[in-house]
């Protein structure tokens, strides 16, 4: 049963809502131009300029098949297509009660239910889709873009069981390619032999081990040196949250402010996990660490975490994003954008990386934990491109699941009191509020900007200011009304 099936992949960002697919479908299925016969339905929303076709996804465990009382729907084990058998169908339409995505629906013109059958392996809709929003592909091909890229990290894993960092290192290196110099300050990344052991290097790009404090400044120098030599070398940092947010912050902040052309990736495991799980400034409130133990006096970390991505956003970076390996396509897109941005200026990607050992949860749950963090808005996914001055959420922040869904799976939160959970929720809401405002208006709201500008001009009309009475280098001679217009 476990085999890769062909699927109709939909790329909504490419869809222009032309509706050619509907017409082609109605034509081939019913020899008609009436789109009521179409198995593919166009969703159009002019308000937010959204277009996207709705079509049966040929589910792995189709609820339409399960709820059919007449065995008129079956899943074809060879092709994966959910087939409708007209001769057995009694048109009770119970199947339409099961499908959450309107993959099967009642057609009043033909008085029967209709659904997509991939046209037997040659879908008519794909052929007429000019913008390329529809693609007929094997679902295993979704990652085909990444497959030919060389894995630049040594095989095997020196990290803990279930570590997400190793996965992340591989994907990042794969994406940025071999023309890279990698800096990995002390932490879990060099701990996994990125910088080598006993003279052997763990990855296929030149890598070095800066101090916790000077990662960004060393990379800045390297980038400038190569640039002067006429070579385009990607300068990549894979730093932990300690190396970025705490002791390495000074050099990071400086490099970002100067607009150094660096791709800075932070692996945020919310503490100094490599050295024995000490707290860092990104450790969340209430979290157990070895330096914020749980006992009668202290109940985990008493202070809130600092939210690095927003701090970096205010550095006027070319690109800032938060990412998680639980959403690999999104992750690759962001790394690509950051990579491109790092040729123009500073690019910062903050990757959420739960630590199975330090956070106390089973090794096979890392991706699930990340997904929960995103779904509960604990770690919202977004990106900011300076060229567009636009913060965009890449995972919907509407209808988050309860934060408890996330907290309850992690050992370091096991002791949390109701109050602490409440505080964490408050903090999440606070972050979301700020992010949402920026998302709505950008960093500079035109309306507010105009108001501020008008206010400024009202108070300091340069032409009106009489500076004749001012003695440069000192205070004005007189505090009287001489600094008023019309004293010529």
């Amino acid at each position: 049963m476990t085999q890769a099936y062909y699927t109709l992949a939909v790329h909504p960002e490419k869809c222009n809502g032309c509706g050619e697919c509907e017409i082609a479908c109605a034509k081939i299925k019913a020899d008609s131009t009436d789109v009521a016969h179409s198995r593919i339905k166009m969703l159009r929303n002019m308000k937010d300029n959204f277009f996207g076709p709705v079509v049966c996804m040929q589910c792995g465990e189709p609820s339409c098949v399960k709820s059919c009382p007449a065995n008129a729907l079956t899943k074809d084990p060879e092709t994966g297509v959910v087939r409708w058998h007209e001769d057995r169908c009694v048109t009770c339409t119970i199947c339409t009660l099961g499908c959450p995505y309107s993959g099967i629906y009642y057609n009043p013109v033909s008085s029967s239910v209709i659904k997509c059958d991939h046209c037997g392996g040659d879908p008519a809709c794909v052929k007429v889709c000019k913008p390329g929003a529809l693609e007929y592909m094997k679902n295993s091909d979704l990652y085909k873009d990444q497959a030919p890229l060389e894995d630049l990290f040594a095989p095997g894993l020196a990290g803990c069981m279930g570590c997400n960092t190793e996965l992340m290192i591989r994907h990042v290196l794969r994406h940025v390619g071999p023309d890279t110099v990698l800096a990995a300050p002390p932490g879990c990344v060099p701990g996994q032999c990125v910088v080598g052991m006993n003279g052997e290097c763990g990855c296929k790009v030149p890598s070095f081990h800066p101090l916790l404090t000077n990662t960004a400044s060393m990379l800045a120098g390297i980038r400038r040196f190569y640039k002067r030599k006429g070579r385009d070398v990607t300068c990549l940092a894979l730093a932990g949250d300690g190396g970025a947010a705490d002791v390495g912050f000074q050099s990071l902040s400086g490099a970002a402010e100067r607009g150094e052309e660096i791709l800075f990736v932070v692996i945020d495991n919310e503490g100094y996990m490599n050295t024995g799980m000490q707290r860092s400034s990104t450790t969340p409130l209430g979290s157990w660490t070895s330096t914020t133990p749980v006992g009668p006096a202290l109940h985990g970390k008493p202070r809130e975490a600092k939210y690095m991505p927003l701090i970096m956003l205010m550095h006027s970076c070319e690109y800032v994003a938060t990412a998680s390996m639980a959403y690999p396509l999104d992750f690759h897109e962001k790394i690509e954008k950051a990579y491109q941005a790092s040729k123009r200026g500073f690019a910062y990607v903050h990757v959420f990386s739960p630590c199975t050992t330090g956070w106390r949860f089973p090794g096979d749950m890392n991706i699930a934990v990340q997904r929960k963090a995103v779904e509960t808005n604990y770690f919202p996914l977004w990106e900011y491109e300076r060229s567009k001055d636009k913060l965009v959420f890449t995972y919907s922040i509407d209808d988050p699941k309860p934060l408890e869904n996330y907290l309850s799976v992690i050992g370091k939160f096991r002791h949390l009191s109701k109050e602490q959970i409440g505080q964490l929720k408050e903090q999440a809401i606070k972050r979301m509020t700020v992010l949402q405002r920026i998302a709505e208006v950008g960093l500079s709201d035109e309306e507010v900007k105009l108001k501020l500008k008008a206010a400024c001009e009202g108070e300091f009309k340069v032409a009106d200011v009489d500076v004749s009475g001012v003695e440069w280098g000192g205070m004005p001679k007189s505090h009287s009304k001489s600094v008023k217009s019309g004293s010529n």
């Binding site: 937010d48 609820s63 007449a70 065995n71 119970i94 099961g98 309107s102 209808d399 709505e440």
Partner: protein, 437 residues
């Protein structure tokens, strides 16, 4: 004989459980007992057998090959007469015994008879098994008129089916003066009622049956409370069902209207599970245990029972703090159904019967001429119920917006303006996790 898993009943709940058990435990001995001597089928399809829309031979849910491939002992035509939960064994009607480690009761329901004088003495039909359907068809060949007791799904479906065969059909209500009172509110019900009247079905909702006088053969005289009498060639009773659970002899699980089950479909007896129409599980809205005898719930419950029986839930629970994951634990039954009549289609989901009472906001659009009716019930920013007659809505999309408790804050007006596209878009977004900003 001895078996590890015993499934009593072979419709949606039972089959869904066997599928799930075989995923988790491909080798454990598995026995399925069916009281009917035929391959599995769904009771839902019976009205369509009566109407002649489909042939009984081709709508089987599984074939012999399935039982062979899955290594399941399928005992056809054997009725369970006794379950001794203390000794963990059942007795069949041929006096043979089956010992089990775990048993699933998926026996469904059986028709109930209203306390009408003379009914028991008369010849009447019910519609719950394939045999019932075939007998109705046989009688209908001879008959010219038919009286149907009950205005529920069975009664109304049978009325249309028999009328299409050329019989003159009279439908008489049971306790409630409405058609399909479990699903449709007054206004929508009247529309459906009118369609039946327009097609020549007699359906006077003011009257009830007083008594019945048996006649020759299948003939009967139905005397109404207003004194009218109707002579009929055949009589069909569809006034309700009750859970089929009268076989516990020793150590019965807790029962009310059905067998009480927890969120894993386990009964109060450790190695006994129940699923489908016979199970009384928690309701999605009231959070009390209620019967929700509908097909989609049957397979959902059967699946959860199968997972629970084959031990997979233990592994899930063992993961610290993972909690009660959706799909593994039953999160409550939602009332839902579709009803198609004379080329019209309708559906009702959730709290569809709610009338305006302050707690809920009701949005209704209708057009009597087109037989169009659309009702949405909102509780705050959440959709909790809907009815549609001849709408272009997708019932499953509406259903999932209710079931997943999707917050429609700021979208309620858009939703009511263009429910089909907005609801599809909401599910699109929820699937892809796409952001809208």
């Amino acid at each position: 004989m001895e078996t590890k898993y015993l499934i009593i009943g072979s419709s949606h709940a039972g089959l869904s459980a066997t599928d799930e058990i075989r995923i988790n435990d491909p080798d454990g001995s598995l026995t399925m007992v069916s009281m009917e001597d035929c391959l599995p089928y769904s009771p839902t399809v019976l009205p369509y057998i009566v109407s002649g829309k489909v042939d009984a031979g081709i709508i089987r849910l599984r074939d012999d090959q399935y039982f062979k491939d899955q290594n399941i002992t399928f005992l056809k035509g054997k009725k369970v007469v006794k379950i001794d939960t203390q000794a963990s064994k059942v007795t069949l009607d041929d006096n043979s015994e089956i010992g089990y480690e775990k048993v699933l009761i998926a026996t469904g329901s059986e028709p109930t008879l209203p306390p009408i004088p003379g009914l028991k003495e008369s010849k009447y039909h019910v519609l719950r098994t394939m045999q019932d359907a075939q007998e109705i068809n046989k009688s209908a060949e001879q008959a010219k008129t038919a009286v149907i007791l009950g205005t529920g799904l069975v009664g109304m479906h049978a009325a249309e089916g028999l009328a299409e065969k050329g019989l003159k059909v009279e439908v008489i209500r049971g306790r409630r003066p409405a058609v399909l009172p479990n699903y449709f509110d007054k206004a929508s019900m009247q529309m459906i009622h009118k369609v039946f009247l327009d097609h020549g079905i007699g359906c006077n909702l003011d009257n009830q049956v007083a008594s019945i006088e048996p006649g020759e053969g299948e003939k009967a005289k139905v005397i109404l409370k207003n004194g009218d009498a109707i002579d009929t060639d055949m009589l069909v009773v569809g006034t309700g069902v009750r859970s089929r659970m009268d076989f516990f002899a020793n150590g019965a699980p807790q029962m009310e209207e059905g067998i009480l089950v927890d969120e894993t479909m386990q009964t109060s007896v450790g190695n006994v599970w129940a699923a489908g129409d016979v199970a009384q599980a928690v309701d999605f809205f009231s959070e009390k245990k209620e019967l929700n005898a509908i097909l989609p719930d049957a397979f959902e419950q059967g699946k959860i029972a199968g997972m629970s029986m084959s031990g997979n839930l233990k592994a899930i629970e063992a993961v610290p703090g993972l909690g009660k994951q959706e799909g593994f634990f039953y999160n409550g039954g939602v009332s839902m159904n579709t009803f198609n009549f004379y080329g019209n289609r309708s559906f009702a989901v959730g709290l569809s019967l709610v009338e305006d009472d302050g707690e809920y906001a009701i949005h209704v659009k209708f057009d009597t001429d087109r037989c169009f009716y659309q009702k949405f019930v909102f509780k705050g920013d959440y959709l909790v119920g809907a009815i549609g007659i001849n709408t272009s809505l997708d019932p499953g999309v509406i259903m999932n917006i209710i079931r997943r408790k999707i917050n429609l804050k700021g979208k309620v007006d858009d939703f009511i303006d263009d429910p089909q596209n907005v609801s599809r878009r909401i599910m699109w977004d929820s699937w892809r996790g796409v952001a809208k900003v």
